[in-house]
């Protein structure tokens, strides 16, 4: 089932949690709402679930207006960060809950419920724990029970609020791969909230980046990674350097370095500032797009820096640099081979040069 959200607004007292958000979640899609805390992502999810009601705007499920329906009428499966299992019920009773509260006429008989519960527990690979109580399970197992419980009512959409937020790193990684596989298997329209960009990129078909109650960017993980749409997205995704620069005609310059716009920022070159005008701008250069050169072979138009710290990450080396003379901290990422060739150690002077950058008005 598709979800359409049209100019949703929600305030809590004087705080604007959502500010006219519109969004389209396609049928069978797994979408991530990504943003820092207070960005409105959880509020948006809770509005879609009917656990909260909007001040203005509409929510449609498959074109049908559900804005004023309560959570129990919307048929959504909701998974909470802290599981919210019924701790006085066994795992099987937890999963059966949604079926056992159906009105008498629509409620399956006991045997049918038991069969469905068994099937769902098999799906989440917890068939052997049906008789346990939540307190006897690990965090990852509890979250899978919560998922099975949400799926029991055959929901129209599945909504997950920071589903892995309370788990430790190892389990988290396992569980999100598992969620991706499960989604590929059941193809239910799903939306999950996360503040972890790696998680969003790895699991979702499409990612919505949110900030201050507004949507900054919607796109596939690749689109968002390759072309962040705003300074906020650059900074939130991390591994990007912010440079204060000046644009002079067809040249861009920052901290001793300069280059023709057409080479480093072709998109901006198409709409150059009026010739002769000089404008301040903000440039973002991602870590892997910052080129390191030996200081001895520094080209004229390069900035100088000193290596402060090196971190090995698989085949890559993360280099923390201190730009000279102002001491601004920059981040670069080079291959091991490059790092070896440059003989990088803390204290090594290098020349730096962006290969590509993205310009925003200052």
């Amino acid at each position: 089932m598709s979800i359409t959200v049209r100019s949703l607004t929600k305030t809590f007292g004087t705080f604007t949690a959502l500010d006219g958000v519109s969004l389209e979640v396609e049928k069978g899609e797994l979408m991530a709402l990504l943003g820092p805390s207070g960005s409105g992502k959880t509020t948006l999810l809770r509005l879609i679930a009917g656990l909260e009601f909007a001040d203005a705007g509409t929510i449609l499920f498959d074109g049908t207006d559900t804005t004023h329906l309560s959570a129990r009428e919307r048929r959504v499966g909701f998974v909470f960060q802290h599981y919210a299992l019924f701790r006085h019920m066994t795992v099987a009773d937890n999963v059966a809950f949604g079926l056992s509260v159906l009105p008498r006429g629509r409620r399956p008989d006991k045997a049918a419920i038991a069969a469905r519960v068994k099937e769902l527990l098999e799906l989440v690979q917890l068939g052997h724990l049906a008789g346990r109580y939540p307190a006897q399970l690990s965090g990852g197992q509890r979250q899978r029970v919560a998922l099975a419980r949400a799926l029991a009512i055959e929901p129209a959409v599945l909504l997950l609020d920071e589903p892995f937020g309370a788990l430790d790193a190892q389990v988290r990684k396992e569980l999100r791969r598992w969620l991706r596989d499960l989604h590929d298997e059941i193809h239910m329209t799903s939306v999950f909230v996360t503040h972890d960009q790696e998680e969003a990129m790895e699991v979702a078909d499409r990612v919505v980046v949110m900030n201050h109650g507004r949507i900054e960017q919607v796109g596939t993980p690749v689109e968002i990674h390759d072309a962040p749409a705003s300074p906020f997205v650059y900074e939130f995704l991390g591994h990007a350097n912010k440079l204060d620069c000046r644009i002079d005609g067809r040249e861009v310059a920052a901290g001793g370095w300069s280059a023709p716009l057409a080479r480093v920022a072709p998109a901006a070159a198409d709409t150059p500032a009026p010739a002769g005008a000089s404008a301040a701008a903000v440039a973002y250069v991602r870590a892997h797009e910052l080129e390191l050169l030996p200081e001895s072979r520094a080209p004229e138009a390069a900035a100088l820096a000193v290596v402060r710290h090196l971190t090995a990450r698989g085949g890559q080396v993360r280099v923390e640099l201190s730009r000279r003379p102002d001491g601004a901290v920059l981040e670069a990422e080079v291959s091991r081979a490059e790092a070896d060739a440059l003989r990088l150690t803390p204290g090594t002077p290098v020349a730096i040069r962006p290969r590509a950058l993205r310009l925003f008005a200052a």
Binding site: R72, F80, H82, H88
Partner: protein
């Protein structure tokens, strides 16, 4: 010897034990010893006399009604105090403790004045043929008044502690408000609810000050067990007083045992998930 990080273990533990022995164990043992000074046949005669049995019946019945009332009223009041915000909430919250703070004799006098034929409530009830003062109903009313805070105060913190997500989860799974309460909230507060009811019941069984004023104290009709023990004491018949009192003590222990067992059974899996 194990080292403790917190200092003062031996001092505090010693004080606690001393207190328990002096204030709790010693008087209880004295009571049992006093009762034990009776021949078995005499003891049995005293505790099973018609008048004594009548007091058990009066006390238990009135305490049961008072507890039933407080179970419903206390749960409602705790719910209102936790779930809603309204002007005067803090005041209401403070007033709940009034029966604890008020000397029970004062409560007894006030209730008697209210429910006497000429009192504010008594005057309204008299035409309906209901008399409260000097009847078993009066006893139940006095018990209900003095034990009211127990249920409220035991449920309140547990209710405050319930995560809203648990209810939201139940709602999103399609449960009606009634189903959410009956199948999710009530089972979770049940141990506290039971503990509160047990405390209220125990307090009602032992209540004396508030009741003697409103009960009329007619042997076989409105005489409670605590009063019978007091009367025996007044007659300098210490062993008989102790015998009657030992029955109340026994009842209190049975209550403790039963409620603790039920709680243990209910909570066997309920460590916070």
């Amino acid at each position: 010897m194990k080292r403790h990080v917190l200092p003062g273990f031996s001092l505090t533990m010693g004080l606690t034990l001393l207190y328990l022995v002096l204030i709790v164990l010693l008087p209880l043992s004295a009571l049992i010893l006093k009762a034990a000074s009776l021949e078995a046949a005499d003891y049995w005669r005293i505790v099973s006399s018609q008048r004594a049995v009548a007091t058990y019946r009066v006390t238990l019945t009135a305490a049961a009604w008072a507890t039933l009332f407080n179970a419903v009223f206390g749960l409602t009041l705790a719910w209102v105090l936790v779930r809603y915000s309204f002007p005067g909430k803090r005041l209401l919250d403070a007033v709940v403790d009034l029966p604890f703070a008020l000397p029970t004799a004062v409560a007894g006098v006030a209730l008697t004045a209210l429910f006497a034929q000429t009192g504010w409530y008594g005057r309204l009830l008299a035409p309906l043929g209901i008399s409260v003062a000097y009847t078993p109903v009066g006893i139940a009313v006095a018990m209900a008044f003095t034990s009211a805070p127990f249920v409220v105060r035991t449920i309140q913190p547990v209710l405050e502690d319930l995560r809203p997500e648990v209810e939201e989860a139940a709602q999103s799974l399609g449960a009606s408000d009634l189903q959410v309460f009956a199948r999710v909230i009530f089972p979770l507060i049940f141990p506290a609810f039971l503990a509160g009811c047990a405390l209220a019941f125990a307090r009602s069984l032992g209540e004396f000050g508030a009741i003697v004023f409103i009960a009329g104290n007619l042997p076989f009709r409105t005489e409670i067990t605590a009063l019978l023990a007091y009367i025996r004491l007044d007659e300098f018949d210490y062993p008989a007083a102790a015998a009657v009192a030992s029955v109340m003590l026994g009842a209190a222990f049975v209550m403790l045992l039963v409620t603790n067992s039920i709680q243990f059974w209910v909570q066997r899996h309920s460590e916070r998930a």
